[in-house]
Assembly symmetry: C2
DNA sequence: CCCTTAATGGGTTTCTGGTTCCGTTAAGAT
DNA sequence: ATCTTAACGGAACCAGAAACCCATTAAGGG
């Protein structure tokens, strides 16, 4: 038998109970994040709120960082539908609105901020966060590629960078200046990136 | 005698000792932030590292959030020289480099990230963070205003928004995706914002 | 259906941050 | 120089989160 890592129980017998416990704990974690934020996240409370023994929570997730990391891994697996409106303008706007929705959703927004805070000092959380965005950026980047093929944007335009550039100002407001973010900001973000992309500022040569 | 707020001792007798204690504590706080991050910041340790009684640290700053908040207030007071290169291109690039320098400076970078994490759950930290950026953005926005006067950018261009837009992608990498940020990224950020600004995407009408 | 043991859960103990108490130091006024 | 008291600091004290122990439950193989 191999060394049994004790960090991933649930691999050997992931049936009913174990899965239910995980779902309940992750759910309770999100609720707690909404209420008290990452800084106030106590394993103790999460266990109580999930209706689960606290020993189990400590054993499987170790600390609050492990909790939000697993939460982010879970969310990263879920795909968000990416639109195809036919024009790059519509697609970028749709992307901005999608990001806006995530940011302003109470549970998801609280979770994102918690993971961002956790990633400050927890490499595992940072990795999970990265995986989460990597997937979304990749999915949306195809819209930019299509626009290049249609001739709407200059050849060599870096799709992933364009998508990130749309998100950046929204997250900047969310995390850095902590101002509210609304549809207007999302639209502006999309419009500005589009203007830059059309001018070739996202083409490889413009590095 | 008035209610003595106990949150601002040092107002009545700010002479030598009190000032020295504050400097030592704030200094030790930055060191600790570099080592363990905000999440690992313990009043206890800061006191020890500063060579100061821990009672004093608790009395004057209450909790880690108070510590980083005061630190940010201190940093906000210090002005960074904003360049005037003669062209908007040069000025935006200079601004991007300035932000880059702040982000990549070990102590300042750690402090910024700590305050961002703290602001997640501490309104005072959020205010201090805001004040910090408000000042810098305002100072740099004048460069954009000059460019508008020189006819380099469309009339009505929102200077503050332009400056923020330059910072946004850099902070996005720092805080959200946690990727390294270098000169190349700074230059690209400046170039892209400039392209959008020239296209009028930052002019008022372009809501 | 039964058996093995993975996985859970209640209860207790430990330990580290956080609080309070009270004596000591020295800033600033006279 | 002296006095008042703001501000500091050491040590004991307290609370709540983290770790541990061992009994209980039920997943999955036969």
């Amino acid at each position: 038998m191999e060394p049994q890592t004790h960090l991933k129980p649930g691999r050997v017998r992931p049936g009913g109970r174990t899965a239910k416990v995980r779902a309940a704990v992750l759910d309770a974690t999100q609720d707690e994040l909404v209420d008290v934020g990452f800084h106030g996240l106590a394993m103790d409370r999460v266990a109580a709120r999930a209706g689960v023994g606290k020993t189990t929570v400590y054993r499987r997730w170790r600390d609050p960082g492990g909790l939000v990391t697993d939460l982010m891994v879970e969310l990263a697996d879920q795909s968000t539908p990416h639109a195809d409106t036919g024009s790059i303008e519509g697609d970028l706007r749709a992307n901005a609105m999608s990001v806006l929705g995530a940011i302003n959703d109470q549970r998801l927004g609280a979770t994102l901020q918690a993971v961002i805070a956790a990633a400050t000092c927890d490499p595992a959380a940072a990795d999970a966060l990265n995986a989460f965005y990597l997937r979304r950026v990749k999915e949306w980047a195809t819209a930019v590629d299509r626009a290049v093929e249609r001739g709407e944007l200059p050849a060599g335009t870096d799709g992933a960078e364009v998508i990130r550039a749309v998100s950046a100002p929204l997250y900047y407001r969310l995390v850095v200046t902590r101002e509210p973010v609304d549809e207007r900001h999302a639209e502006r973000a999309a419009a500005r990136v589009l203007a830059a992309a059309r001018a070739g500022a996202f083409a490889e040569a413009a590095g």
